[in-house]
Symmetry: C2
Subunit: 339 residues, 2 copies
């Protein structure tokens, strides 16, 4: 099997860290590896498979000879993505910069793997909350056609990066010790609090995070007719986003049938045994690659309603794992550029 030259931009952040971990775990055929970041992190040493790599400041020439470039997030892909593509790499971008670009496939391998085939050099990795939802929604959509979903999210702080993890720890200690709290990453104290505000406010007073849930789910499922509304909320949990999803389908699907459908679906673990107190929780979904689905209940407030509760590690399936699964598809479908 061939090996590939991989560049990781944003190597020093929470998602970058996870990408390296997952590349290793999945035994991804990394031939040559280059780690890039902003000048602030340049020079930092980061280990991969026992070898230390010095983080370089990203420049267009960072991509010379690269086969696959992972952008962990932020503005970097907007600035350097075109240079990487020009140099013959395929980029897998975890930022929101290109997700809604009609020329760019937005891919969740369990849902729309074939979309990698029409890439023009850039493939977008969806928003973490979207990935987690859509893995669970896809089999229900296939089985009973989804008309509408109402989502409320419970999002872990690590979705906001490594500094956010530290902020939760520092603030939590401060609350317990009755010390002073100075929010930096989040707009308010997140320890023992909830913040119903993720990303910037946009049209109709929805946040960008809420709009992503609408637009990205529709794009990945290739169905703009699915009506979606979302309320996204930050919770004082380190890792794993959870989502309460109410689904209305064209055709009635019973809780039993939904459970069977989920059990047969890739990337899903059903945890749904109320009598035994089994349901998805961040505590048990953290550091896992699957989307955990439970609390599967018929919603009899409408004829064809279903409630589910999902949890998944947003740094893994919601970011790193999904990105690397996309890279694996590129290899499988022979969609990397020939050098």
């Amino acid at each position: 099997m061939s090996e590939f030259k991989v560049v990781l931009v944003g190597a020093s952040g929470a998602v970058g860290h996870e990408i390296l971990k997952v590349l290793d775990e999945r035994n991804f055929p990394v031939g040559d590896l280059k780690l890039c970041a902003t000048s602030r992190s340049a020079g930092k040493e980061i280990a991969y498979r026992g070898k230390y790599y010095s983080v370089e400041e990203t420049t267009p020439d960072s991509f010379n000879g690269a086969d696959i470039v992972f952008f962990a997030g932020g503005a970097a892909s907007k600035e350097f993505g075109p240079a990487a593509v020009e140099r013959g790499a395929v980029i897998i971008d975890n930022s929101s910069n290109f997700r809604m670009d009609p020329e760019v496939p937005l891919v969740v391998p369990e849902v729309n793997p074939e979309d990698v085939k029409w890439h023009k050099g850039i493939i977008a990795n969806p928003n973490c909350s979207t990935i987690i939802a859509v893995v669970a929604l896809k089999p229900i959509h296939d089985a009973a056609k989804i008309k509408r979903i109402v989502v409320s999210t419970y999002q872990a702080v690590s979705g906001a990066g490594a500094e956010a993890i530290e902020e939760l720890t520092v603030q939590t200690k401060a609350v317990l010790e009755q010390g002073k709290i100075t929010p930096e990453v989040f707009p308010y104290q997140i320890a023992f609090n909830l913040i119903p505000h993720i990303d910037v406010f946009m049209d109709l007073d929805y946040t960008k995070e809420e709009w992503k849930m609408v637009k990205e789910n529709q794009k990945i499922l290739h169905d703009d007719s699915i009506a979606i509304t979302a309320t996204t909320v930050r919770v004082p949990v380190y890792r794993s986003h959870s989502e309460s999803i109410n689904i209305e389908t064209e055709r009635k699907i019973t809780a039993l049938e939904a459970r069977q459908v989920f059990e047969k679906s890739p990337g899903i673990v059903v945890v749904d045994d109320p009598a035994a107190k089994k349901y998805p929780m961040p505590l048990f979904s953290s550091d896992q690659d699957e989307v955990f689905v439970g609390r599967i209940r018929e919603d009899n407030s409408i004829p064809n309603g279903l409630n589910i509760w999902v949890a998944a590690d947003q740094l893994r399936k919601g970011a790193a794992t999904n990105a690397i699964q996309i890279a694996e598809l590129l290899i499988k479908y022979d969609c990397l550029k020939k050098k």
Copy 2:
């Protein structure tokens, strides 16, 4: 103004503590006060307005001469409620024991104050999550008739009592210090976790807490045609429940109109200015009596949809304050029993 003989059963718990605080703050006309609890707490000294009261073990004779009896929660009202009523008291019961009894009014003073008038000795205080939701739902129901609501809750640990508050603190410290965690009050670790399971599991795999949201809202609003579905979730927050509520109305109500309706409604504070990052949060609604409503958005996934986010202190408006407001109504409407 007359003064009344008040008995508080469950004086040593989180809700009992709050009832005493709110009686004091609202200058409730307490003439004589008796504090009762189980034998476990008997003998404990609790202060009210600078005077110490010794907690008595509840017996039927605890209610001799009582005008108003507050039951803070649990099984006590089932055991002792009839004895209190026989002795001529009116009981305001914060437990779920009598809430769905057709002979018992279930009252939120901002919503259905007139219902206190037909009491037969017992008035039920609704579930905390229901109170918080229904204060916000009532003005929308009056303005545009609610057809359906989809609720996801974010419930603070203090809803599970004083031991639950302690458990969150102990577990949080244990996580930070990498110590051992042994859940006692909650079925799993709650620190930095979410538990989608409040109260026992019942029909159709919904929890009792979820069924309460359905049945109690319908009873308080006198409208069984309102379709309701709920997912209730415990979050690592000390105080104040939050709820993401999606509302479908008969008539279209714009976000602007909804905001105006909320602003005119009793018991509600509108906190809804995205540009200034103003929205309801547990951090600011704790130790307050009002229901804070924000993130008011039209939900265009259906013709007449509205999303709101509410937060309120479930020990105050969700329990103690509501109970004392009911007692105030009993006095105002002259509905106490004549001795």
